[in-house]
C-alpha cells in the first residue's frame, strides 16, 4: 500500500519558484546587512566629517559622503534597520488586523459585515496624512509613531480586499460542503475561507512593502517620524533629492536600497502566491491525473441558501 497523506508545508515551500527564492535571498541579505550594520559599516553611524562633505564614491567612501560628510554606505546600512522595521511592523499589524476583520465580515455577511465595513469606511474617509498628523499630535514623533500612523491608515485596504474575497469564497461549494459535514463556523472560516482568501492579500502585502517605506519617509519629512540623526532610507532620499543632479550618490544609494527591497518583496510575494495556491505552477499541473474528464468543467451546484 502506498504511504498515506501527510501535510507537508516543507514540500509546499520547496515548490517556490526560482525568482521567489531570489526575492527571499535578497530580503535576507538586506535584513542581514541591517542587523550586522555595526560590524559591516566602514564608519560609525552619524559621524559627520565636514572636511569630506559631498565626496563622490571612491576608495575611502564606496558610496560617497553626504552634505555633512557622513559615509553614505554606513548610513544606508543603518537606515535599513529603521526602514525594514517600519515596513515589517506596519504590514504585519495591518495585514493581521485587516484580514481578520475582512474575512469575518465577508463570511458572516449581514449586520456583522455592515458594522465592520462602516468602521473601515470611517478610517478610509480620513486622508492618510491627516489621520497621521492627528495621531502625531497625540503621540511623540518617533519610529513607533510612524508605524502606528501608517498601520492605522493601511489596514482598511486589507480589510476591504479580504472581505470581498471572503464573501466570494463563502459561496463556493466546498464551503457549503464543509457546513454539510457539520464543521462549525469558526473552523469553516479558519480552514476553508481564510486559506482560500489569502492569495490576493499576500500579493498586495508584497506590493505594499515599498510603498510603506516611502510613506514612512514622507511622514518623517513632515516631522512625524524618524528624525535626524536617525538613519532611514526614505528620510535620506527625501532630504537629498535636491542634490540629485549634482551629487547623485546621496539619493541614489538609499533609493536603490528601497527599490531592491520592494522588488525582493514582490518576488517573494509572487512565489508565496504560487506556493499557497496548489492550482498554480506547471509541475503540479503536469502531475494531474490523465483521467480528468471534460465533466470537470461542468456546472457547479447552486449555492443558493446554504448559509
Amino acid at each position: 500500500m502506498t504511504a498515506l497523506p501527510v501535510w507537508r508545508p516543507v514540500e509546499r515551500l520547496g515548490r517556490v519558484d526560482r525568482l521567489a527564492v531570489l526575492g527571499g535571498v535578497l530580503i535576507t541579505l538586506v535584513a542581514l546587512s541591517a542587523v550586522l550594520a555595526p560590524w559591516l559599516a566602514p564608519y560609525a553611524e552619524n559621524a559627520p566629517d565636514p572636511l569630506h562633505s559631498l565626496e563622490p564614491p571612491g576608495g575611502a567612501h564606496w558610496f560617497g559622503t553626504d552634505l555633512a560628510g557622513r559615509d553614505v554606505l554606513t548610513q544606508v546600512l543603518y537606515g535599513g534597520r529603521t526602514s525594514l522595521t517600519i515596513a515589517v511592523a506596519v504590514l504585519a499589524v495591518s495585514a493581521v488586523a485587516g484580514v481578520t476583520l475582512g474575512v469575518v465580515a465577508g463570511y458572516a455577511g449581514g449586520l456583522v459585515r455592515d458594522v465592520i465595513m462602516r468602521i473601515t469606511d470611517v478610517f478610509l474617509a480620513f486622508p492618510a496624512l491627516l489621520l497621521s498628523l492627528a495621531l502625531a499630535v497625540v503621540l511623540q514623533p518617533s519610529v513607533t509613531t510612524v508605524i502606528v500612523a501608517i498601520a492605522a491608515t493601511w489596514w482598511p485596504w486589507y480589510a476591504r480586499l479580504a472581505a470581498s474575497v471572503a464573501a466570494s469564497v463563502a459561496t463556493r461549494p466546498y464551503v457549503d460542503a464543509a457546513r454539510c459535514l457539520g464543521v462549525p463556523a469558526p473552523l469553516v472560516v479558519l480552514r476553508h475561507v481564510l486559506p482560500n482568501s489569502l492569495t490576493p492579500v499576500l500579493v498586495q502585502v508584497s506590493l505594499d512593502a515599498g510603498g510603506v517605506i516611502l510613506t514612512a519617509a514622507a511622514l518623517s519629512y513632515l516631522g512625524l517620524g524618524a528624525q535626524e540623526p536617525v538613519a532611514e532610507w526614505g528620510l535620506m532620499v527625501q532630504q537629498s533629492q535636491t542634490y540629485f543632479t549634482t551629487n547623485w550618490w546621496i539619493v541614489t544609494w538609499p533609493g536603490l536600497a528601497i527599490l531592491v527591497t520592494a522588488f525582493a518583496f514582490n518576488l517573494l510575494g509572487e512565489g508565496l502566491r504560487a506556493a499557497l495556491d496548489p492550482r498554480s505552477g506547471g509541475a503540479r499541473q503536469e502531475r494531474a491525473t490523465k483521467e480528468s474528464t471534460s465533466a470537470e468543467a461542468a456546472a457547479t451546484i447552486s449555492t443558493r441558501v446554504i448559509r
Binding site: P173, R179, C180, L276, A298
Partner: protein
C-alpha cells in the same frame, strides 16, 4: 432513517417545496426526480436543516433527530457523521488548498472518529480508488474520482444516510456508471439509506426502489420505481419519460 411528513419550505409567500410524505429505510434508495427548479435540491437541504432564510414547517426526522426543532449543535453532530451529502459538482465541493487526505482526517477528527491511515485507505479502496489519491489536491483528480472520494468520506465517517444531489450529472457516461455502481454496492453491502435527487430517469431506473416526481415544488406522483417509470399516472411523469433520448 428518513421520515418526512408534510414538509413545506417557503421563501416569503412562495412555497418552493412541499413533500407530503417521504420515508427512506436502511438499504433503500428513493429518487426524487423533476426538472430544474422543481424543489428537489431544496428538499435535500431541508433534511440537513440547511435552508437558512427559508420558513420550514412539517415533520422531518433523520436518523432519529427532529431536524426542524433540534439545536444547531445536534444538527452539526449528525451532518457528515450520520447523514452525508454528495454534491453535484464533485471537485468544486473540495477545498482547493487542502489535500484529500487532510480533508478526510479533519472530518474524521471533527466527529471523533478514530481512524488511522489504514482505515482511511480502506474507505477509499471501498469506492475503488487508489489510496495514493489521499495525497492529491482536488485539481489533481478527475470528476469521477472526486465524487467517489466524497462517497468514501461518507463511509469513513460511518454515515447511515447518503443524500446525493445530482451525483452523476457533472460526470461523463463511463464515470457515471462507476459512481452508480459504487452507490448500489454500498447500499446493498452496508445498508446505506440513499436519497438521490436527479433529473436523469435512466439512472433512476437502475438504482431506485421508489420514486417521487416533483414539479413546481409539489410532489405530483410517487410510488415504486418500476411502476412509476413503466406506467406513469401523471402527465408530467409521462412528459419526463418521453423526453428520454
Amino acid at each position: 432513517m428518513i421520515e418526512v411528513r408534510d414538509l413545506r419550505v417557503r421563501y416569503g409567500p412562495r412555497t418552493v417545496a412541499h413533500v407530503p410524505e417521504l420515508d427512506v429505510g436502511a438499504g433503500e434508495c428513493v429518487a426524487v426526480v423533476g426538472e430544474s427548479g422543481s424543489g428537489k435540491s431544496t428538499t435535500l437541504l431541508a433534511l440537513l436543516g440547511l435552508t437558512e432564510g427559508a420558513e420550514v414547517s412539517g415533520h422531518v426526522r433523520v436518523c432519529g433527530v427532529d431536524v426542524l426543532t433540534a439545536p444547531a449543535r445536534r444538527l452539526r453532530e449528525i451532518r457528515g457523521a450520520r447523514v452525508a451529502l454528495v454534491m453535484q459538482s464533485p471537485q468544486a465541493a473540495l477545498s482547493p488548498t487542502t489535500r484529500l487526505g487532510v480533508l478526510m482526517r479533519r472530518a474524521l477528527g471533527l466527529h471523533g472518529v478514530e481512524a488511522g491511515e489504514r482505515a482511511m485507505a480502506e474507505a477509499v479502496e471501498a469506492v475503488l480508488l487508489d489510496p495514493a489519491i489521499l495525497r492529491r489536491y482536488p485539481h489533481e483528480v478527475s470528476g469521477g474520482q472526486a465524487q467517489r472520494f466524497a462517497i468514501a468520506l461518507a463511509l469513513a465517517l460511518g454515515a447511515e444516510v447518503v443524500l446525493a444531489d445530482e451525483p452523476t450529472s457533472a460526470l461523463d457516461v463511463t464515470v457515471q456508471a462507476e459512481v452508480v455502481g459504487v452507490l448500489r454496492r454500498l447500499r446493498e453491502e452496508r445498508g446505506l439509506a440513499l436519497l438521490m435527487v436527479s433529473h436523469d430517469l435512466a439512472l433512476v431506473s437502475t438504482i431506485a426502489d421508489r420514486v417521487l416526481v416533483m414539479k413546481d415544488g409539489a410532489v405530483v406522483e410517487s410510488g415504486p420505481a418500476a411502476r412509476v417509470l413503466a406506467e406513469p399516472a401523471h402527465p408530467y411523469t409521462r412528459e419526463l419519460l418521453e423526453a428520454l433520448p
